[in-house]
Structures are given as structure tokens and as C-alpha cells.
Amino acid sequence: MKKLSQLTLPSQLMSYGFLDPSAKRELRRKLLKAIAIPGCQIPYASREVPMARGWGTGGLQVTLTLLNSSSVVKVIDQGADDGVNAASIRRFLAKVSGARETTDTCKATIIQSRHRVPEEIMREDQILVLQVPEPEPLRPVEHHISAARQMHADANYARLWLILYEQMVRTGRIMQATEYPSLVNGRYVMSPSPIPRWDVPKLHMARHLTLLSAGREKRLYAVPPFTRVEPLAFSDVPYRVEDHAHLTCSRSGLKGFFMNEIPKDDGGSHFELSDSGFCEKTLRRAAGEDVSIGATWYRNGVMS
């Protein structure tokens, strides 16, 4: 007769990387499926994590599944490494996995981000995990998840084109600011998460893998390396990124990147680089430190 101790594994108070093996196994399978069908939303169980829904629980689950002790992790919120929620997520990731923390895009192996793609070009050996509040690009035109799934299956995106056209007729331009619907690999329209329009071209034919995960809505999808990501645009009305090319960062003096506008007391504004890690490296280099700065996607304010 077997003893009880032979039938059971030694008790572990917490699994490595917090999530238990069954959750990780499901996520890995769904991630592979998402990579195999670029842009297609794959439902997953989306377990509860020790953070409130809507605070990056989808990104967190993906990152926790991919992390190992040799990983170097960077977490940004609205472009900043020092946002309170980014700091809290980064601390949690490092604590449960033993991964090293960084604010340097070039040094990270995995970058979890809320609503920005870093300005420095990401490499083949890096993964970008985007937090997604609303994975369904069709939600503005179709509230029912079940009906939207059917529309994706039929590649029926007519109503999306229609709302973009209506915006143009009403205001003279396409008003969609962030979450700009984009066609992936010529097949599925995805929401690239609320990244600014500035960042969407960075996903097109990128060297890195992008994983997008919505914890609350229980959907994940992927843009594999070297995959087409084309924002929906009309042939005679080209896609336009934010008009930030001429703005200058008041801290670093850099020009031609996505900026945060800071209102001033005198009624005007000044601008700061939204990518805080990039800004910090520029400042350190200016102060004489030997800092390596990667090539950027935009050069002189133009996507290269």
C-alpha cells in the first residue's frame, strides 16, 4: 500500500512565479495559439491575481508565465517607469520570480507596458507585453461578444470603416485617438491597446514579439515578429500619427518623439518625453556618463 506522502508532492506555499502550474500551462497553450493566428483574440480563463482587474492583470499573467530567474524586466505605465502602478507591478514580478529589474529598454528581456511602446527599437530577443483594457475593436459598433466573434470570423469589418468615415465627414478628420483599429497579417482587425497612434507603426514588421492581454475581458492576442500591422486608413486619407514631431522635451532637449504636455501657470505648456527611461538615459549621457542608447524607431520625428 502506498503512503500518503508518496501520492502527494511536497507542499509549496506559493508556486514559482505566483501562478500555479495549471494556470501557466493554459496560458502557454493559449499564447502559442495566439502567435499561430496573429491578431485573433484567444479566450483564456484569466485567473484572479493579487491586483484589481483593470490594473494590468492580463499583462501580469502573461509576464508571470514567461518570466524566469534570468529575465530582466521593465514595467512602464503611460511611458513612465516610475508610475506608482508600474513600480508596484515591477516589484511584484521581481519578488515572485527572482528576475532583475531595469528601466533601460535595451537591457530588458521582457517589457510589460500600459499604453506605450518604447522609443528605442526592440530586438528579436525581447518580448513586449501590452496591457489591454478592451480587446474588442468591434465593441464601439457591436456590444455583443458573440456577434462580434461572428464578424471576426467573416472578416466583416464594414462597420468599423463606416465609423472612421463618419468621423471624417463630421469633423474633417479621423478622430480615433488611441486603440486605433489595425489589420494584422491581412486577416484580423485588432485593437493595439490604447497606445497612441504614434506607436502603432512600431508594431508593423517588428523584430520583437508583442503579446496583448486583457485580464478582465479574458482575451489574449499576439503580433509575432515580422508581421504586418496596418492601421485602417483610406487610400486617399493616409494614417496620421500625433503632431509631435516638432515638439522639444524641456528636460532632455530631444525633439521628434511622443511627448507629455505639462500645463504651465502662465497659461502655456511645456513638453516632456513620454518615454521616461529614454529621457533618463539621455540626461545621464549629457552628464558625462557612459550610457548606451539604442537606435530609435522615429528619426527626426519621422518613422524610419
Binding site: W55, T57, N85, T171, H244, L283
Partner: protein, 358 residues
């Protein structure tokens, strides 16, 4: 520079948590036990919403969150999801439930009898301010009935089925490992019956009440009658690897069956059950279940609407997330708005220039 800022951020997080905890004071096992003893209905409510039957852990979650129910439910759910699923219990059968309370509004009396059990339904809700002046509220001892109510009761629906009043659907024997489990699978629509009932079982009490109440007020076609409502203790029966079935303990369960009078020949039944004793939740949930087949597309009484929007962890979390900075999105919107204004102004000045002189 940014390092300082990062540390500053972490310090701010640390200190704001301290401010919160300062208000709660020292939390120890004594406080947890006092909560478990004095607030059994609240403990039951959050055990249902957490879908975790663990009264002491639920009391701990309440202590730790200072009674913020959404926080408490999240604490329990986040703990629960890391636990292994060791076994699947035997299905519960109505006539094997240890029944504390069981009533039907559909008949004056029912086979097995109406059993009031513990309830405040017929009490006068008078706030006992004298307690604040030092009086004690010692519960009066319950007088034993000479004839104790039978612990097990038949289900009213089985009588109705025998009469041909309720359709007797064929019982589906699903292998235990194949029973869908919402805690490990995403909810898709249309949801399977199992997923719908599981989702109702862990739904937010207040959310279900609001939507269920709206249906009852006439926004849905079927006015509910409580066919049978039960508060029970159920044995969690587990099969030992050698084949013996044994009870691993008892859990409090509530279940409601609500009937519609709308059917022409048979009575339609809606059903809702949850862990813990929580009557409002199951009556509202049963009413939503009952009305769902007749819900018009796009109404709040469609399963997709009410299940999606009564998820306490998801709903509360999303409400909270709007406190996070959204300045990148805002910046992007401003850019489009300013450009649109510029365009409108250009068009207006162009139109003015083209206006022929009088």
C-alpha cells in the same frame, strides 16, 4: 534622477498603505474569530461571491480589508485560484440536503411542510438603541418543537413533475472531470447551462439584485413566484481512491427555484444556487435565469449582459482602474481635437472669403 522618482513612488505606495492600515488597527485571530461569530450573513455573502467556502478565511479577508466587500472578495479569489483542485464532489441531491429552512410561495402547504427556519422575515425592524446605553441583547432560547422537522425534504419540483406541471428533463450523467468549471475556463456566449449557473453563483449580490429587481418590476415578461427556497447544509461527498464515498464536511448552501405563470401548459422554472445563505441573491438570480429565454436582443436580461456585468471582481476592478493615469490617451485625443478645430476654423474662414459681396 528617475531612480529617485522610482524610489519616491515606492515610498508613496508604502506610506499610503500604512495610512489605510492605521485606520484598521491591530488585526489578530481574536478579531477574525469575532467577525466570523458576529457577522455570519456577511461571511456567507462573500464566500458566495468568492466561490470559496472557507468561513475563517472569509472572516480574515473581511478583517484585512476593513469590511470593503469588493476588496475582501478579491483577496479570497486571488488566494483561491492558486489552490489545486483536489477532487470533484458528488452531485447534491435535493432529498439528501440537511434542510434548515424551506418555503414555497406557490402552495399553502407542500409535501414535507413549510419550514421557516432562521429568519427575520416577520420581525419588526426596530433599531435597538438601548444597546448603546448599555443594555444587552441576549438571544432568547429557541423552544424545541415536540415534533422535530424532518432533516431531509423532497423537492417540490419532483411532485410537480409527477403531475406533469413541470417538464421532466432527462438527467445528463456527465463524467465528473468533464463538468465545466468557470474558475478555470473563460465565459463564452451563449454560455452553457453549467457556466450560467456557476456565474450566477459567484455574482455580486447587489448587482444581481438590481437587475433581478428590474425584471420583477416589469422590464421582463415573467413575474416570479418562489416555487421553493431552501437554506441547507450539504455534505461534500468525495470518492476515496478505493471507491468509498465519504463526507469531507458540510457547507451552507442556498437555492431558489422561481416559477413563471406565463407558460400555457407547463410551469417554467428558473434556478439559482450559491455557497452560503443569501436569499436576495438567489431569488434575483433565479428570476434572471427564468426570464432569459424570453429576453429581447440587447436587453439587460440577456445572459451576456447580466452575467458580464454582475462579476464583482471585474466590475469593481474596472471602476477602480479609472484612477490610474490616462494622460497618454488624453494627449492623443487632444491632438486630434486641436487639429479638428483648426480644420473647422480654416473651413469657416474659407467659406467667409467665398461669400459674395452684397
Amino acid at each position: 534622477m528617475s531612480y529617485v522618482a522610482a524610489r519616491g513612488g515606492e515610498q508613496a505606495i508604502e506610506q499610503s498603505e500604512r495610512l489605510y492600515r492605521e485606520r484598521l488597527g491591530t488585526i489578530d485571530a481574536t478579531r477574525v474569530d469575532a467577525i466570523a461569530r458576529s457577522l455570519p450573513w456577511l461571511v456567507d455573502r462573500i464566500m458566495g461571491e468568492a466561490s470559496l467556502y472557507a468561513p475563517r478565511l472569509a472572516a480574515l479577508a473581511l478583517a484585512q480589508s476593513g469590511g470593503d466587500l469588493y476588496e475582501a472578495v478579491l483577496l479570497l479569489r486571488a488566494w483561491r485560484t492558486t489552490q489545486p483542485r483536489l477532487a470533484v464532489a458528488e452531485p447534491l441531491r435535493q432529498d439528501k440536503l440537511f434542510t434548515h429552512r424551506r418555503i414555497s410561495a406557490a402552495f399553502k402547504d407542500i409535501p414535507g411542510g413549510q419550514i421557516l427556519g432562521p429568519t427575520l422575515d416577520y420581525s419588526h425592524r426596530i433599531l435597538r438603541t438601548d444597546i448603546l446605553d448599555g443594555a444587552g441583547l441576549e438571544p432568547e432560547p429557541v423552544e424545541m418543537s415536540p415534533e422535530p422537522a424532518p432533516p431531509h425534504q423532497p423537492s417540490l419540483a419532483s411532485w410537480q413533475k409527477a403531475q406533469g406541471l413541470v417538464v421532466d428533463f432527462e438527467r445528463q450523467d456527465v463524467p465528473k472531470q468533464d463538468i465545466p468549471d468557470l474558475t478555470r475556463e473563460p465565459l463564452l456566449f451563449p454560455a452553457g447551462r453549467a457556466h450560467r449557473l456557476q456565474s450566477l453563483a459567484r455574482a455580486d449580490t447587489g448587482g444581481l439584485m438590481a437587475l433581478g429587481y428590474a425584471v420583477m418590476r416589469g422590464y421582463g415578461p415573467s413575474h416570479p413566484t418562489v416555487n421553493e427556497l431552501r437554506l441547507v447544509e450539504a455534505d461534500v461527498e468525495i470518492s476515496h481512491p478505493r471507491g468509498t464515498v465519504f463526507s469531507a464536511g458540510r457547507v451552507r448552501v442556498s437555492q431558489a427555484e422561481v416559477a413563471s405563470k406565463a407558460g400555457a401548459e407547463t410551469i417554467d422554472l428558473g434556478f439559482c444556487a450559491t455557497l452560503g445563505w443569501n436569499e436576495v441573491k438567489i431569488i434575483a438570480g433565479g428570476t434572471l435565469d427564468l426570464n432569459e429565454p424570453h429576453a429581447t436582443k440587447g436587453s439587460p436580461f440577456e445572459e451576456e449582459f447580466f452575467l458580464s456585468h454582475t462579476e464583482p471582481v471585474e466590475g469593481a476592478g474596472f471602476c477602480q482602474h479609472f484612477k490610474l493615469p490616462h494622460y497618454v490617451t488624453f494627449q492623443s485625443t487632444l491632438d486630434a481635437m486641436r487639429d479638428a478645430r483648426r480644420k473647422q476654423a480654416e473651413m469657416a474662414s474659407q467659406a467667409a472669403a467665398e461669400e459674395p459681396a452684397e
